[in-house]
Symmetry: C2
Subunit: 145 residues, 2 copies
């Protein structure tokens, strides 16, 4: 294959990848905003639900965002009474972030809806296509840089 055609193929599949991912993100994200949560807020609550309380640094790495960002996201969640900060006593640099009851109820309900939405989105693909997509995307994500 000529270099030119190779580049064309790459650009083409890149564009479809981005459009497809964006498309799914928007539609799934709607479930989160219906619950009054942004994507980041959802990510934080979901991490706390499934991994338990953790410090902000861990939250940040879990949802792939900067720690500066997390401070603000957690500020906003705290204002809504969905999470609570606890300054660690052993090492006072750390904050442990915990779900409140209200936060737990909200994320449990919302997570179920989001999960259903994801299943519906991916459901337009056959099982085999989903497996293939997963395998190919994993290759794309592996590289460091």
């Amino acid at each position: 294959m000529k270099e030119d055609a190779k580049t064309k193929l790459a650009l083409n599949s890149y564009t479809k990848l981005m459009r497809g991912a964006e498309s799914v993100t928007v539609r799934v994200g709607r479930k989160m905003s219906d619950a009054g949560l942004t994507i980041s807020q959802f990510g934080v609550l979901e991490a706390l639900l499934h991994k338990g309380p953790m410090c902000q640094r861990d939250v940040a790495s879990k949802i792939l965002k900067s720690t500066g960002n997390i401070t603000l996201v957690i500020d906003n969640l705290e204002k809504q009474g969905l999470v609570r900060r606890e300054r660690s006593l052993e090492d006072r640099r750390f904050c442990t972030v915990l779900l409140t009851e209200k936060g737990r109820a909200l994320i449990e309900a919302t997570f179920a809806e989001v999960e259903a939405a994801i299943a519906a989105e991916m459901g337009v693909l056959t099982d085999e296509e989903q497996e293939t997509l997963g395998r190919i995307c994993k290759k794309l994500g592996l590289r460091e840089g």
Copy 2:
């Protein structure tokens, strides 16, 4: 297949799709920020380069952003002298957005780099994988809602 396993498969391929897309976006985006452009700014300049001058509404739909957003992005590009607005004389509601010479030079150089980066990213996949990925992602992007 049980419903539960189906959901699991969907969540799994969804996660890999998002991680893969994010990963590629970050690495390709680095080429843009090296040129002092944000992803949105790059998108606007690229549209103008390849489609010619157009009004803001068309720019917005081209890069899938809101018109309120485009106003700001173009404001910032204009400040940097990369684009120019011209209020249409036939219908004064429209602004035509044009590349300046400086803008054209910058986007031509940057586009070449980005194109190369995309080719490199997608190059970890075989040609067949790229075709398959494109086909599957297209299915994901088609639905409305």
